[in-house]
Amino acid sequence: MIMALYRLTGRLCRAVSQTRSLGTAAVEAEPPASGTRAIFRTVQQDPAHHSEQDLGQYYTLPPDHVCSVFPHGLPRHFQLQMKTFNETCVMVREPALELISHLKKADYSKPALRYLLYGVTGTGKTMTLCHALHYCSTQGWVVVHIPDAHLWVKNCKELIPSSYNSSRLDQPILASQWLKNFGITNKHFLSKIKTTKTYMWTKRESTEEGQPLGELLEKGLTRIKSSSDVMGALLRELRLQCSKPQDEGSGAFRLVVAVDGVNALWGRTTLRRENKNKVEPEELTVVQNLRKMLKNDWCGGAIITSLSQSGSLFTPRLAYLPHELLGKEGFDSLDPFIPVPVPGYSEKEFESCYQYYIDRKWLQHSQSHTEEGKKELIFLSNRNPAVFEKLCAAL
């Protein structure tokens, strides 16, 4: 019924716009009157109120939201698209709606629920994650977002032995970058949350108890050497305080931990020590801290993770299922979780994306506007979002 409605409104819209353009004969282009809203856009801009009616439609994120919530979060090609189209439009899709509905209905006095997004490469797992994060940040949660865990286990130039635990390795630059981004995302929480214990960074430096988190962050950013430990401390604080019932001073907050490419934490690394020995993921401080966060021993929040084959090391190209990508160890530690499959575009979603590209004048080729051209595009991309985007980039 919804599909029929959609088609009806689509036809009406197009008919209306056609008659209008016929009426104003001198005007060549479609008149962008406010009455004819493009069928692929939804009125509802707030992710909290997205419902099944908005399925397949795009909603726009305001630019300041984008800067604050996703300083480092969005995938690279999406950022390019943002810059080209001068707006940030995200499609409302099934998996995202499912995730958001779970988040709404979950009981936050129980241990945190883990959600795992999985699917073939390029179907939109990262974008779904970002959609859910946008919802969480509009609801006022604390967002811990790791855009790509694979970046932590490969191509790292500086590895210093950890001061806290001598067998582990630190990644100062990575950690400090992450702390900076965390500060941008959760600016308003930095003064509210206070530390619960004293941390000794070096013999002379320490952070007292009761200091706001902002201080902790400052310490991490100035003293880059100890930034990994600062990150660990931060995460620990958040975990502890989130689980606690409502206190007089600090208001109760909800925590969402979002990790993209979570299979990196249990895979292999390409990093080596100076003596050319291989480094296992367990030996990295940041990875250890993150693993503690992913354990569901704390409550009052949610853990959203997604798998990624494209950035992963030493995994076969065609693998996309959780137990293939996570391995036995990862699967056991993430078990139990709620799997959320992310398929390619459905017909309606594909239509919507196609109309969006035409509207943004992205498809310039004359044949791409015809029916045959559309069928060609469907066949060549098999309705895979990433492949479709790459295909349209050339047209």
Partner: protein
Amino acid sequence: MAAYSEKVARSFLRSGAVFALVNSTFSSRNVFQLKRTVPLLVRHIQTSSVVRKRSLAATSQEKFTEEYIRKQIEEFNIGKRHLANMMGEDPETFSQEDIDRSIAYLFPSGLFEKKARPVMKHPDEIFPKQKAVQWGEDGRPFHFLFYTGKQSYYMLMHNIYGKVLKLEKYEDRMRNKGLFSQDTKTISVIGSRWLLKEELEEMLVEVMSDHDYSHFLQLMERLLALPYSHVEEEFIQSFRKQLEVQSSKQVVPPLQFDEKGIAFSTGEGRRKMATASVVVRDVGSGKVTVNGIDYLQYFVILQDREQLMFPLQFLDQLGKHDLECHVTGGGRSAQAGALRLAISRALLSCVSESEREAMRQAGLLTPDPRVKERKKPGLAKARKRYTWKKR
């Protein structure tokens, strides 16, 4: 007779013939090795090799007299009856195919070149057509155009021009009477072509230049373009050759139905060491699976998927069929090409005659003959040479 056949045997052996004569009672004179410029290998023997070479050169220009040809024809017919007797078949109904079969059985040859194998055909097919002697006993030529050098050709052109004049005169008469009408029936030239230069030469038994041939074509076109050319239809058609419709040669398997009642058809294709087989079902989803994997994952490169798309797009059936493909061997491009051929062949049975012809013309049904060229000795690869050093 026996001595003659012995000498014949020796000549065969000397000129490198493979077979040996078994039965000397059977006259082997009708069995020749067919070559392009038909040398007569069954000849009176020359013993020394020098003289033999000279004799071979002389045979190519030798004129065969009419009497000689007639004798050859008689001997051929007798030989045919003998052969039928030998094979135990009826001499009356012994056709050329039977002769070929029998010769292949009696003289098995391992040569690869078909034209080098022993053959027995009617002398008209073996001996080149030659002109009879063109002048009488007094030395005066029979034909009035003999001294032009190309008498048949000029005669033909003269005749055609005569017909052109005749038709123009006829048209003038009709116009004078007022009976001229534009809608006279025209000769249909679709599906036929003019004779090629080689064919015309064969017909006239005369050599001509390209210039002459183009003149001939121009004159024929002019004749064809005249309004009343249907009068001379028979004459014109004698110079035209019908073209066969290629696609009528194709064997198209019928559509099959499986137990659920869904129509499906199979096709196989090969390209450059890759073999593919495809089952096209009439389900209507547009799902494509290659070796059990989705085609988007199997063929990462866009070009390969475009190759798969080509037959379906050509027939406008992009989302209508379900493809289940299996492919082995070759590289990614070869596998894509093999699949494309297999899909086109499978779709043949679902499609009408005119579309089949269109597919053939688009090149969808032609297997690509290009294979890897062999490496030659003295060269690094098939064509690449080793570095040339001056010293």
